[in-house]
């Protein structure tokens, strides 16, 4: 669906995007993460032509943005919907009128618009507010209206720029569920820009991590979290762990019936003592990953490390300050 090859963009002296290679398939939800200001929003806007790129190729179903006139790009934008952090609704118009706006601009017939607006409001579950103005709506409700508007022209792609950054955690979850539903029901590809990893974990299939204007890591979400590349660590920052004396090891593994017993088996076989500093299991779209940090004495080090190396898990020694 979206093919980006060797894309470069700079603002004067400033290299905003360098050698970006990215592909998003038809039903994929792809996350773009990185620190604030790294260029993720700029990259997102290159996809629908709101920003121009300097060199490289950006094709959407074969349509190369650079090769087309502004008029043609304008027409092409019907295929791409976009939602923003601050919702961007017309304050003086009702929910109905806001959702109808794109269709009105494109000259759709009145009854066609009416039918479609009602259908969309049903999909995003905000029918009861149909004639209200945005000022009486909560953040989550406003975003639903924005999503309905973004879907009104039947796009194949939805671009989300920090769409949940202004919402509380619970509302964020419900909006993400809505996006998931839209992706699965209508087969709409979604590109999601965020600086919050938790969002990536919840709904993305694949993710690209942007660091210093380049993509420093890319792949399925569970693989990225399993492999813990440096850019991921830079993004997440240091976990608040109280490391103990001796050896501290973090073990990351795919959660399954065998790995569940990993630690108890280790105790039985090696007869070692250890303490657990942190343990959690997180569910991703395609796998559940477990992550444990254990602490034990120096003497047991070799035995434990040999044992872990034989298992299908990833481990690393954590150094204290």
């Amino acid at each position: 669906m979206i093919e980006i090859v060797s894309l470069y963009k700079s603002y004067g002296e400033n290299n905003v995007l360098r050698n970006i290679n990215l592909s998003v398939s038809d039903n994929e939800i792809h996350g773009l993460v990185g620190r604030s200001g790294v260029g993720k929003s700029t990259l997102l806007r290159c996809i629908n032509g709101l920003e121009k790129y300097d060199s490289g190729s950006l094709k959407i179903d074969g349509f190369e943005i650079k090769q087309h006139s502004n008029r043609e790009i304008m027409r092409f934008r019907k295929n791409i919907g976009m939602i923003f952090q601050n919702f961007a609704l017309m304050e003086r118009r009702t929910v109905y009128q806001n959702v109808a706006l794109p269709m009105k601009c494109w000259g759709y017939k009145k009854d066609e618009i009416d039918k479609r607006v009602r259908e969309l409001l049903r999909i995003v579950d905000i029918e009861d507010k149909i004639h209200e103005k945005p000022r009486v709506l909560s953040g989550g409700q406003k975003q639903r209206v924005a999503i309905a508007r973004a879907l009104s022209l039947n796009p194949k792609i939805l671009l989300c720029d920090e769409a949940t950054s202004a919402l509380d955690p619970k509302t964020t979850k419900s909006i993400l569920l809505l996006l998931e539903k839209i992706n699965e029901t209508f087969g709409i590809a979604i590109v999601l820009v965020t600086h919050q990893m938790s969002i990536i974990k919840q709904i993305c299939h694949r993710v690209s991590i942007l660091e210093d204007s380049e993509i420093s890591a890319q792949g399925t979400v569970s693989k990225i979290f399993m492999n813990q590349p440096q850019s991921l660590k830079n993004l997440l920052g240091e976990e608040d762990l109280v490391l103990g004396k001796g050896i501290n090891i973090r073990i990351t593994h795919i959660e399954n019936s065998i790995n569940k017993k990993m630690l108890s088996n280790m105790v039985k076989e090696l007869d070692v003592d250890f303490s657990i500093l942190s343990a959690r299991v997180e569910e991703y779209r395609d796998a559940s990953l477990g992550s444990i940090v254990i602490n034990f004495e120096e003497e047991s080090a070799k035995a434990v490390i040999d044992y872990l190396t034989d298992l299908p898990v990833r481990w690393e020694i954590l150094k204290g300050e």
Binding site: L50, G81, M82, A88, M90, R92, R93, P102, C105, R149
Partner: protein, 219 residues
């Protein structure tokens, strides 16, 4: 003496009030049309606008600044030849509309320009993202969202134009300003002078109240 003043009041102030209202109304309409046109072009060609064009934007902006710098009475007198050309005379309430409009249009332009610039930038981006044309963005979105701000701004402008019309009265325009000056001040008739001022005060209050009502209705 009081009865005569009262009769004078009715026979002079009321018709002159009519002239003032005529001047203010016509000026507001003309200045709003011109000012709107100016504002839209300035916002369109602004460096953050939809079709940036440095030359057009800066030329118009400077023109607006220059006209606004003139104290009204000096502007009025200096364009008398132009007024004569357009209206055939430089005296009377019809003629006064010319300098009043020339002075008011840049003021209204700035008001509308600021109102348009205050519209949520993300909203304009969204509109571009679903393929709206520049004209649609300006008229269907920016102007619509800016209506409350434009309304308060025009309320301000009307009151300002009212004040200017009183000044115009001094140079032959007629209206309440002329009454206050000639029948009142120059005639040592405080009743008429302050009476006229009182009428203007009531007028200003009414305009402001009307403006507030419109603002809340349109929000």
């Amino acid at each position: 003496m009081n009865t005569t003043s009262y009769e004078l009041f009715l026979n002079i102030i009321i018709p002159e009030l009519g002239k003032t209202l005529f001047m203010v109304l016509m000026t507001t309409v003309c200045a709003t049309i011109l000012g709107f046109f100016l504002a839209v072009i300035i916002v369109l060609t602004d460096k953050d606008g939809l079709q940036p064009n440095k030359y057009i934007c800066e030329t118009l902006s400077t023109l607006v600044n220059i006209i606004r710098s003139f104290p009204f009475i000096i502007l009025m007198v200096s364009i008398i030849p132009f007024t004569r050309f357009v209206m055939g005379t430089s005296i009377g309430e019809k003629a006064a509309i010319v300098p009043l409009t020339v002075a008011a249009a840049p003021f209204v332009a700035r008001i509308i320009e600021n109102a348009l610039k205050e519209v949520d930038k993300d909203l304009i981006e969204v509109a571009k993202s679903f393929g709206a044309s520049d004209a649609q963005i300006i008229f269907k979105i920016m102007v619509v969202e800016a209506v409350p701000a434009i309304t308060s701004g025009i309320t301000l402008a009307v009151i300002s134009i009212l004040g200017a019309s009183a000044v115009a009265g001094i140079v032959g325009a007629g209206g309440l300003g002329a009454v206050a000056l000639s029948y009142g001040y120059q005639n040592f008739n405080d009743t008429i002078m302050y009476g006229t001022v009182f009428v203007i005060i009531v007028l200003v209050q009414m305009i402001q109240t009307l403006g507030n009502i419109f603002y809340h209705k349109l929000k």
